[in-house]
Amino acid sequence: MLRKDSAPGVEPKLTQGHAGTAIPHESAHLHVTGQACYTDDINLPSNTLFAYVGLSHASHATIKSLDLDAVRSAHGVVSVITADDIPGLKDIGPVMPGDPLITKSSVEFYGQVLFAVAATSQSDARRAARLARVEYDPLPANLDIEAGRKADSYISPMHCQQKGNVELAIDNAPFSLEGKFASGGQEQMYLEGQVSIAIPQEDGNMLIHTSSQNPSEGQKLVAEVLGIDHSRVTVEVRRMGGGFGGKETHANQWACLAAVFANETKRPVRMRLARADDFSSTGKRHPFESRYRVGFDKEGRIRGLDIDLYGGCGMSADLSNAIVDRAMFHIDNCYYLPAVRVRGYRVKTHTVSNTAFRGFGGPQGILAIENVIEQIATATGIDPLKVREQNFYTDEGNRNRTHYAQTIEQHIIKPLVTRLTETSDYYERRKDIRNFNAENDVLKRGISLTPVKFGISFTMQHMNQAGALLHIYTDGSIQLNHGGTEMGQGLYTKVAQIVAREFSVELSRITCTATRTDKVPNTSPTAASSGSDLNGMAARDAATKLKTRLCDFAEKHFSTPRSSIRFDNGQVLVGKKKYPFEDIIKLAYHHRISLSATGYYRTPKIYYDRETATGRPFFYFAYGAAVAETIIDTLSGEYRVLRVDICQDVGQSLNPAIDIGQIEGGFVQGMGWLTTEELKWDQTGRLASNGPATYKIPAVGDTPSEFNVELFPNSPNTEATIFHSKAVGEPPLVLGISVWTAIRDAISSIAEYRISPVLDAPATPEQVLAACDDLRSSRAL
């Protein structure tokens, strides 16, 4: 190593553009001019076919008959396929089977693919797909968690994490209460819908362009569906118009269908879902129910928590096992639980298979415990913030081990919350709000602080690895490739900044190329907030290798000690002489030094033993907290968020501008999950909220008019992550919970904070009015 990594806590002197500095997204100039090329923008040959799917109109049934004559004879149709036409693998379940590419004899959700059609235009394909005549024999359908639970319908066995004797702890506690709580699902609503293009290559090979967070899995499944070697399929992803988890596994089906048609017709095939079908036929965030019993003392300290989590998985496993696990791993949030039992149930329902969504179960677990905290606060009459602080993990009294036996090593939450309490003026404003509420009947205000501790790493150990590929060309320009995908989170920007910092060259020398399975193989999905942790380290490894090679060469060529060689701002200093970076590169090339390297990284220290439900599943934790203030209208249930203050721990930021963008965007997305985003199905199991007209994600006016975001200062990651940064993708989403608790606080004022309002999530205006009415009638009693 030429340069020792800076010690934690010491800010190195940074050059603008390098990792650690705020610069715009690498594609910003393309975004604003319409030149950024997304999958659907790729210029296709004139013989391209357009594929579409025929979807089921029943949620649970056997298919009595499927008459596709009218589809086949429709205008422009070139090919129609059913399950029988798939040459290889017919089930594309990512972890275990259960997700037929095209279903054959039975239907397990409304919107399941029954057949696919390829035509000479998108509109012809869509029109033809509607002409099938399908007869169903209906079967009883379990459309929600409650129905699935009653029918004892699960996609896999329950998993339990346990610490101490929870019954005893609760029974012996001075106070206890029990209850249940539900949170709804959430549609990813990436602005760019699912889309894939398959372009047949010579000798039966296949090139896929797709909007996917997981090109390697797409490659594997396309190959297996076609019945060919993985090596014959290349998947390319330059960028996605948003993913949020919805394109981790649920992008595969469309790529596979396009590939089957391309393989059959030897023509390029594009498969793009219309928005309503994207809503109906791709998975969402899991709805959850929790049933709990908690024991606590008069200060609100938890003595024991017994909680059952029911995740609504939909019709198949998909990633649900890991998602329910992550909910369980986060049932403690920032709180020490002396005794705990958490049981995670994976409920099967006859709805679309739910999948990854930013947070991956973590937010649902945290929301469940935050609800418990709120109940304790009402029961004890203590400020919910004080209850939270009482329960924070701390080394004092060894209150520092999680329910899965990982020790909390970096105690950030307490100082972070203390700082935020001051910067947000929490206590003063809380007083003002109480006065306001005493004077106003119709409008009520609320304020709340919620924290987050989010575990960073895939909980599947083997997924915590990454690769990179780095080329330096003879003009000194650098081409960078890695296994991570760009979905707007700024991964390409950050990794390029890391490489620029490693070589100490101008960022403009570096070109990021599209993620491709033929450049870096066997990659993990870009998910779990891990993108820059994993790919940044892999790219740095490649850069380090090349630098070492260049130094070895320079040492010999210039006959100078290694210590006299330094890369500095686009120059290479050799003793007292300065050479432009490109001159050294040219020189090295002429001396036959390889200017290409791969990089690799695997996360150290992590493991989890599912048998004992203990281990260290997370390399580290990212922390944050938010204070939200809301105002509600107790006549209509309408509300507004008046102010939000956030303090987020990102370690030593790789790019403060991008990190703040992740925090603000994540927060608003989390707020949407718990306020206006409501998924509704009709009695037949058809998703009724199947587009942005009926499914309301936050709009511009929902952004808090006062919205202060701070990166927690001077807090480098104590683990050896890339430049001691921390992951930032998912944790801030959890902070949206503060809006839900602030709405709850406002409602609570109706009964002078003595009664806990019943407020499941999302807290739509309708739910808020119902909760207000409940409290008004309880107060009247």
Partner: protein, 479 residues
């Protein structure tokens, strides 16, 4: 053949199906892929383009959702897409501001935001946060949380409020004037898009082709095309009929042409009924209001149409036309049942009339929806009452979202008329509502919530009348 200005130059489009949308034409026919398809239903704004028209010797720049704008409507106008904003290497102020403020993440919504910001820049001389929010209300972003985009909307004015488009304005006006005036239209395989320029012509077309689809904006009709994949035989566009886009006030009556857009009608409506301002600003989005018409809203007869409760409360009438025949109906008699109106075959709405207010009328309009921007009402209430002393001498209470048609509550009106406006009389009126309406449960709201809202909003109108609405509305606390 449709002629318009694209990329600053005249452009001809022909031999295309009548339902061809601007978005499909740009992306599929021209390969101009900067404009994105997000939802194809006018709800996300990713496909936002700007359409400029000559207006009083200036160009008037307005956003539109290209996904539900039909190509035929562009005749004689300038289409500006995201590819056109920069001149050479120099980005437009709104583009540069988006970069500087980190306003893009995934970038897919960005072209639409850029176009909305551009139109805002052309229509507002200086930055104002609330106005920017209004301009961006129809653009969804799933990544940023909007704050950096709002910042961009403010900082794009840092170097003044003029741009390259000002310099070329005269030239574009000249080019617009020289576009062929000939009957615009599109035709493919006997299916056609026609754009008559007089009411008589339109009336004739509808007599000859009773099944022709009338395009008066098309923010709802567009969905039939993009979602239901409709392929109409004949589309007759009303937007080029000058007399039907006019707004006039004569003898205490406001006349609104059946083809006047919300954006064109709003200033006049708000000047007479300032209470309509919030509703009109929350009706769809700017893109929708630039395209949609009140005539279309009435003819579509949706129970949740936002302009209908206030029009009912204001005793509006509609003038219908069939061939040479004209007749005028009270709006309350126009709605028959769900999406069925008094319109006969070949008949259309020529204009809408609203009697101007009596200055002593109290008027209020409340819209409740899940989201503030660009959302459809769960319930909309319009109330108008006149008080003689304490006595209610005249009253109209009209609801959207409570029945299969927009409808007045006759029993609630009866409970108040001739009585003092007191808490007990208003509670009687509230109690009457469930007898008269049985609202539906649907994706937007439950029947129970709708019923509660119907009562509570009426109660709010009462509170606002007797105590003023200073402490009644959450929106007033957003700074």
């Amino acid at each position: 053949m449709v002629s318009f200005i694209l990329n600053g130059e005249p452009h001809l489009a022909e031999n295309l199906p009548p339902e061809t949308t601007v978005l499909d034409y740009l992306r599929e026919d021209l390969g101009r892929t900067g404009t994105k398809e997000g939802c194809a239903s006018g709800d996300c704004g990713a496909c936002t383009v700007v359409i400029a028209e000559a207006h009083e010797e200036k160009l008037q720049y307005r956003t539109s959702n290209a996904c539900i704008t039909l190509l035929g409507t562009l005749h004689g106008k300038q289409l500006i897409t995201v590819e056109n904003l920069s001149s050479g290497q120099a980005l437009h102020q709104c583009q540069q501001a988006m970069i500087d403020c980190h306003g893009s993440q995934c970038g897919f919504c960005t072209p639409g935001f850029v176009m909305s910001l551009f139109a805002h820049f052309k229509n507002h001389a200086s930055p104002d946060r609330d106005e920017i929010i209004e301009s961006l209300g129809g653009n969804l972003c799933r990544c940023t949380g909007y704050k950096p985009i709002l910042n961009a909307g403010i900082s794009m004015y840092e170097n003044g409020n003029t741009d390259e488009f000002d310099k070329s304005e005269k030239e574009i006006l000249k080019k617009l004037a020289s576009l062929p005036k000939a009957d615009p239209g599109l035709q493919a395989n006997s299916r056609a898009f026609v754009a008559p320029t007089s009411v008589d012509e339109l009336a004739g077309i509808l007599l000859d082709h009773p099944n022709a689809r009338l395009l008066a904006g098309g923010t709802d009709f567009g969905l039939e095309i993009t979602q239901a994949l409709a392929q109409p035989e004949l589309i007759a566009y009303t937007g080029n009929i000058e007399s039907m886009t006019r707004i006039e006030v004569t003898k205490n009556i406001m006349h609104i042409g059946g083809a006047a857009t919300y954006s064109n009608v709003s200033p006049a409506l708000i000047s007479h009924w300032p209470e309509l301002k919030e509703l009109l600003n929350r009706l769809g989005s700017v893109q929708i209001r630039n395209q949609g018409t009140i005539g279309g809203n009435v003819a579509n007869a949706s129970p949740i149409a936002d302009t209908l409760p206030p029009l009912l409360a204001l005793d509006a009438t509609v003038t219908l036309r069939k061939g040479a025949q004209q007749r005028t109906l009270a709006l309350k008699d126009f709605f028959v049942r769900y999406k069925v109106t008094a319109l006969e075959e070949s008949e259309f709405i020529e204009s809408i009339q609203i009697p101007l207010r009596d200055s002593s009328d109290y008027f209020a309009v409340y819209k409740v929806s899940k989201r503030i921007e660009d959302d459809i009402s769960a319930v909309c209430l319009a109330v108008r009452w006149r008080l003689d002393g304490e006595t209610v001498s005249d009253v109209r209470i009209a609801y959207g979202g409570l029945a299969d048609i927009p409808k007045r509550s006759i029993t609630a009106e009866k409970a108040l008329k001739g009585r003092a406006l007191t808490e007990s009389s208003i509670r009687e009126a509230m109690a009457a509502i469930p007898q008269e309406f049985s609202p539906i449960d649907d994706v937007r709201a439950s029947a129970l919530y709708r019923e509660k809202l119907a009562k509570n909003l009426l109660f709010r109108a009462y509170l606002a009348t007797i105590q003023g609405d200073a402490t009644l509305r959450v929106a007033d606390y957003v700074t």
